[in-house]
């Protein structure tokens, strides 16, 4: 049970304050899965109502209250000569008290699957009857709550597990990996593992954190090899392992953490989890080979792009979701729904990442993907564009110096390629969210929806 106060200011004598979103936020913040939200007005001239938020209808309600209890009808409550202990600032508000009698001072709202249960047209109102004033509602959330650990504590567990693992490794491999891990990153994959691991009946935060950390190590191991292959000099604002310590060291560090991560996953002792991650790793490596091969026909086409991105990025997103769910012994329907969700979010994430290459405010040099001839959807769309396409294709076919890279970026930005990619990424996120609607997720749906949106929030 959680008790809280909802405070707000009103601005008019009569006012319908829609508090639905604030109540939804309280439910989300509390991680409530199933139960009841009790709401109580702490004032005698503040009512509660559940109705439609349509401005003309609200004026109708106000008119109704005026007709039923007009302000100038003469209320005995306002005859101060007949009352005792009257405060100096006692308002003339008999009408407001009478109006409150027509409403209610308390309400109970149901919460199911982490969401406030409201009909399509229903909103929850605090109804001010004697404003403007400072108002307060008491709230109690009573029911089942989703995560024994809230988001912050979950990421702390992963950070702790990563530190613990790096602490016992030989310095020549741990030092470069520590630099990469400490440089940050969104850590979406471990978050997905942990969230999915909270869905089934066997929810064990420590095992989930061990798996999440292993998935993050695996991801970083692939990045270390990628950076050598792509000749990248920087990642997350720091020199890559290959650039700082040479390709030989990069290969060894990547191999070490590939092996260590697979060992940590094997030690968890769930064969389905091990297979899920191993299959994803295979898909990643196969798609890296395709990625390099497709550079011969740069910038490629939409089909080849999807083929590469499904392996390169989406495979581990999907595996993170599926393996977490498997670890918690969720039903096969949930595992598969989450796998599809992860796949779609992963592709959308990569599209958002492609767009960053054309954003001067991203903090990364514009046109890096162009320079490195990395498969990129905005470039594919720009190359198909009737107006800018011929020049984009001609430039990409030749040597790419600063002037050419700048010109290609300019052409891409001037076309509708970026908007097309934005729209496509958003559609994928919508499709991912739709996947969540088909299964019972025990209150975690709002967090997964929010995480799907955060995967593309760099592009808005």
């Amino acid at each position: 049970m959680i008790g809280k106060r909802l405070r707000f200011e009103t601005r008019h004598a009569t006012e319908f304050v829609d508090i639905s979103d604030r109540l939804r936020a309280e439910v989300r913040q509390a991680g409530m899965r199933m139960g009841r939200l009790h709401l109580q007005s702490l004032h005698t001239t503040l009512g509660l109502a559940v109705n439609e938020n349509e401005p003309l209808l609200l004026r109708d309600f106000e008119g109704l209250l005026n007709r039923l209890a007009p302000a100038n009808a003469g209320y005995e409550h306002d005859d101060f000569a007949r009352r005792f202990d009257i405060a100096a600032d006692e308002p003339i508000n008999g009408h407001a008290h009478c109006r409150q009698l027509l409403l209610t001072g308390f309400a109970t709202l149901l919460v199911e699957d982490g969401e406030l249960v409201l009909g399509r047209w229903q909103s929850v109102f605090a109804v001010e009857l004697d404003g403007p004033r400072h108002r307060e509602l008491a709230i109690q959330l009573d029911g089942q709550f989703s995560l024994p650990l809230q988001g912050g504590a979950q990421s702390d567990l992963v950070a702790l597990e990563l530190s613990r693992q790096l602490l016992v490794d030989p310095e020549p491999v741990s030092a470069p990996m520590r630099r990469l891990v400490e440089a940050g990153g969104k850590r979406l994959r471990p978050k997905l593992v942990q969230l999915a691991a909270g869905i089934g009946p066997r929810s064990e935060p420590l095992r989930a954190a061990a798996l999440a950390a292993a998935v993050e190590l695996l991801h970083n191991a692939t990045l270390i090899h990628d950076d050598y292959v792509d000749e990248s000099t920087h990642r997350r604002g720091r020199p890559t392992v290959a650039a700082a310590e040479g390709p030989e060291r990069a290969i060894a560090v990547g191999d070490y953490y590939f092996a260590k991560a697979t060992r940590l996953i094997a030690e968890i002792g769930n064969r389905e989890v091990t297979s899920t991650i191993a299959e994803a790793l295979e898909a990643i490596c196969a798609s890296q080979i395709d990625d390099v091969a497709f550079r011969g026909t740069y910038p490629g086409d939409h089909d080849s792009y999807l083929q590469v991105v499904r392996g390169k990025t989406a495979a581990l997103f999907a595996a993170a979701c599926a393996s977490g769910a498997l670890l918690s012994e969720a039903s096969p329907e949930i595992v598969e729904a989450l796998r599809r969700y992860g796949d779609l979010v992963g592709i959308a994430f990569q599209m958002a990442d492609d767009l960053v290459d054309f954003s001067p405010s991203s903090g990364k040099p514009v046109g890096l993907d162009i320079r490195q001839r990395v498969l990129s959807l905005p470039l594919i769309y720009a190359a198909e564009d009737r107006t800018v396409g011929p020049e984009v294709r001609r430039l990409l076919a030749g040597a790419l110096g600063d002037a050419e890279v700048g010109r290609v970026a300019e052409l891409v930005t001037s076309s509708d390629a970026l908007q097309r990619v934005r729209d496509e990424a958003q559609k994928l996120v919508d499709a991912a969210v739709h996947e969540l609607e088909t299964v019972e997720l025990d209150g975690l749906r709002p967090t997964l929806i929010s995480l799907a949106h955060s995967a593309v929030d760099r592009i808005s």
Binding site: E248, A252, G269, E282
Partner: protein
Amino acid sequence: MSVQLIDRELDRLESLWEDGLSEMYRTYLEAVGSHEPASQPKLALAAALVEIGVRLQGLGGRAAAPPTLLMGDLCLARSSRLLADAASQSVQVAFAQAIERMSAAAASGADAPPARELLLDALKAS
């Protein structure tokens, strides 16, 4: 291992079969007699893929060119998936430890036992 099974497991790596992988496979096949008959071919192929994979990558030597490195990466990943399919937990762990040992040595410039020796030991894990 049936021809079909080999074909499937060598997808994208076919060229390696005639380039030393088949010999390695046969060597490891002789060392997996104590395992379940059905899992023996996959275990032998997994070991052979690790051996050829680290060789392709140039682990402990001169770094491979990017396309060759990626081929080596795929060998390790395929091996990992074969182990997930067919190996006991202890064999999976022992394989990973063998690669950890080779790569840690490579990173520090130290000598490590030959890959084959480590992998044959890993196959004995119980």
